[in-house]
Amino acid sequence: MEIVLVGLNHRTAPVEVREKVSFSAEQARRAADELRSRGILEETLVLSTCNRSEVYGVPPESSHECAPGLSSFLSEFHAVRPEALSGSLYHHYDREAVRHLFRVSAGLDSMLLGEAEILGQVREAYRFAHEQGATGPVLNRMFQGALEVGKRVRTETDLGTRPMSVASAGVKLAERIFGKLEERSALVLGAGAISEQVIAQLRGRGIANLFLMNRSRDRAEELARQYGGKVAGWGEWETALRAPDVVVSSVATEEPILGLEVVERAMEARKNRALFLMDLGMPRNIDAGVAKLYNVYVYNMDDLSDIVQQNRQARENEIPRAENIVEAHVGKFLSWQASVELVSLVDELRARVQEERNAFVKARMDSMAHLSEPDRLRMEGLMDELLEKLLLEPARKLRGEKELRRKIQNVEALRDLFLSKRDKP
């Protein structure tokens, strides 16, 4: 009942390698089928995201013996030369494999620390493999544990709560002022990459109305079509600034495009309704004096970058708490695994002892022909009683005492000690 994991991720492999061994849903299904039909793994699950491709499994033999075969399978399945993968693949076994999965699920192994998407991806991969019948008791328990870890880390720590990009930080700040953005409107000046990121964030947060302005109207219309917004004529500041609650500006310009007077007039027209200005241009697009106006909140690129930096630090400060949750669940899983294995070991031991006892009794009784039948039966009874006493007590303890199961780290060693090679499954 060992566990093996072979995979690569953003830390070990560049995108050129990652994309070669990523699995589509269909490929994941086919790989799982092949791994089981070839007898490489008994239980298997493929987790493939844009940053990682990992195969988890329970091999029929020792996990260390199975890992090279699994690596070869990966290169063969994706038609990639083995040497192209050899430096990128990592292998984890048992405790380390479990810990790795739990850390992945918690967002601790993600490129963006604490990102939320990975938990959904783990859930989806597990659902897919489970429906396919590729998982068994070990992987079921392990992935259910991983989902629990992911959920706990997200509810009990701040690992994933703070925005980590300039665009998301800006949008979250707007929510600090206006609350939910579902009844709000935004105006985006410029149609470059950063504007698009902010638009995506605004749409993601449910902004009601989106207006776009760009010197090149074509590009603005393209973005408006893509994200469902309206295009306004460039330079019509008085009208354009009257309605929106959030204004994002990311335009290449020598002089500020929103000067103090423009915004002052706009605020008069808006009757001082609160305005959140995100200046993402370099040089700045909004006059510095605007920040002093009543009910106007201005954040430029540096301000937002500082916030992202603070948030990154805050997330990093949460790592020990998240790691504690991971460790607690790794311990819980290993305890469960040991209990299952130990109980099965005790059962095997009982069968073995029973077999030995029968052979022993037969050999000895044949040489003690003078004993009467009742005496023979009595001797056999005493022997049974002694054996039961010797075996029952440990079995009861193993079932009942969690701490004992935790202490017994290596069930295989016990198996080697008590059972001969032929008795091993």
Partner: protein
Amino acid sequence: MNRIALILTAAAYLLSFGCYMRFLNTGRELIGRLGTLFLALGLVAHYFALLERSRGLHTVPYHDLYGSMSLFGWLLALTYLGLELYHRQRSVGAFVLPFILVFFLAAHLAPADRLPQPDLRGAVFAFHVTLSILAYAAFALSFVLSLIFLGEERLLRKHELGNMVWRLPPLELLERMSQSSVLVGLVSIAIGTALGFVSVDRLMGQYWFYDPKYVVTLFVLLLYALYFRLARTATWRGARASKLCIFNFVVVVLSFTVVNLYLSHSHRYF
């Protein structure tokens, strides 16, 4: 019984405060809910503490300063709980609970006065007092909310977010909560004052006799009505309205202290 109710109330309020603080730091929803639960338990226990105190002293809770303070604390807790449930926002609890605790503890840890039997003034008078104290509690709540608004607005303007700003309610929600609270206060004080005039008429056979408290109360009513109106206009909404709300509460405190103790003939502790 009174001692048990006191201990239970103090414990529930303290636990509620602890949970709200923890909720503010961690954002854990379960802890926030526990804060609400302990507050509700505190309210029930506080009610019995008030009841027992009144029975023991053979008087109404507002017959002395300590009783009035305890009743004020209870109504503050009740108003806050209502507001929290209505707006589904718990982050403010950590700021309100200290006020509730201070009023409760100051009222109940102080030695009880030997009080003369109260005049029997009837249900109208009781409603007049209770509604007036409820109004002051609601105004106190709007004061706390306005302070939070100004603090958060300042942090947002200075770009000093730290951990706190991400946990506090959005500025606009704080404004709405403050306005809701003032609305409760306005309705209560309007009805309470009207009942006060009815009560005076029943006791003295006339609606009006001069008492500076009347003038100040009507001034307070006017100030909060003005706040309620201005806070909804674009020019005033935001920091200006919050500052006005804080100014209004200063007038309420003056009405509670200077006017009650030195100027009023018929209002002692409310």
